[in-house]
Amino acid sequence: MTAITHHVPDALLAAYATGNLPEAYALVVAAHISLCLECRAAYEAHQVGGGAVLETVGAEAVSEDLKSNVLDLLDAPYRPQPTYPRAGVYPGPVMEALKGKPPSWKSVGLGVRQSILSSGRDGSVRLLYIPPGQAMPDHSHNGLELTLVLQGSFSDSTGQFGVGDLEVADHDLEHTPTADPGAPCICLAATDAPLRFRSLVPRLLQPLFRI
């Protein structure tokens, strides 16, 4: 496996570590950290920063019975959250978003498939499957777009992106990612609004395909 060369930029990592990123983006960053020691170290360093703020931001007296309530609950039965381990190319947080099931791929034309993980007001996140040599349809976007490679690689005007690499694109970047020869490229992609594909699918059909 080649080394990761495209990491989470500082501000984005800080926003994730402090819990300030919308869920769609946070999923992509969590998936990258699952694959990348350097960004994991930075994430854990921010936790130390958070701990320092927690220690110094100022205490507020708690009600008298809170402590006894908590101590009484220590032995109470509880249902632990299920954990989802990595499966194949999909890191744990992606498996969690898939609820442990394989992606349900839907064709969007020219061999490209997608599996929407979540789509809401604050952003959407999906898996994309792009056959080798296939360009992702020319598209532009309104805001921040994060793309994490999980299998294969793609290239665009800004460089080549392999497994674990994260591409951060904003509204200034008009780019045409193309899957490299070899294995099909599987990516995890988050946007703050539905992607506007320029070609391939007429705009009228977009609500239908949700792309």
Binding site: A15, A41, E44, A52, L54, V62
Partner: protein, 185 residues
């Protein structure tokens, strides 16, 4: 029985006693230290006293239940508690599930390396001092970021914000992760 390493902070000692012996007195000591700080932290973002205490209760119960994951060579107690508190706040207040990275490998070592634990505590203390020395307006911004009040956009446009330098101040982290991963292979 695991002996706590010498000279580490009281919080780490309590946390290890909770993790390894399910020690209720040590948990009570952690509660006395963290519950008021957590409540203050949560109320700073505008949450009312009642709801803040509900979150404090959930956070402290998570500290007890997930104690097995605490690794003093990787995280300071306050850093670990901070993370749990932010996760809970996001669940409750934003009604979102916060995606978290995979846990790394196996359960933490039963016998933590005292020198590693101490080195991490020293780095954390230095970071805390560095934050305390900031000018009040910069300190305010740092606090607001860690309280969860700044958007990504706001964090990006804060030029000169020392947030970006925090990862280089905690230098041991990356080394330790590399070491840990090598052990797993």
């Amino acid at each position: 029985m695991t002996q706590p390493p010498p000279q580490v902070s009281a919080q780490t000692t309590w946390m290890l006693a909770v993790r390894d012996q399910r020690d209720r007195d040590a948990f009570a000591a952690l509660f006395d230290h963290f519950a008021p700080r957590l409540k203050g932290f949560i109320m700073r973002s505008g949450t009312g006293s009642g709801q803040a205490e509900e979150i404090v209760q959930e956070v402290m119960l998570t500290v007890w239940r997930k104690a097995g994951q605490f690794d003093p060579a990787r995280a300071q107690v306050s850093a670990w508690v901070y993370q749990i508190a932010r996760n809970r706040q996001i669940d409750v207040i934003r009604k979102e599930n916060r995606p978290l990275p995979e846990e790394l490998g196996e359960a933490p070592e039963a016998e933590p390396d005292a020198s590693q634990v101490l080195a991490l505590e020293q780095e954390a203390a230095q970071l805390q001092q560095a934050l305390a020395r900031l000018k009040p307006d910069q300190r305010e911004i740092i606090e607001r970021a860690y309280l969860g009040e700044l958007t990504h956009q706001e964090i990006s446009t804060q030029t000169g914000l020392p947030l970006g330098t925090i990862k280089s101040r905690i230098r041991l982290g990356l080394e330790r992760l590399r070491h840990e991963l090598k052990e797993l292979r």
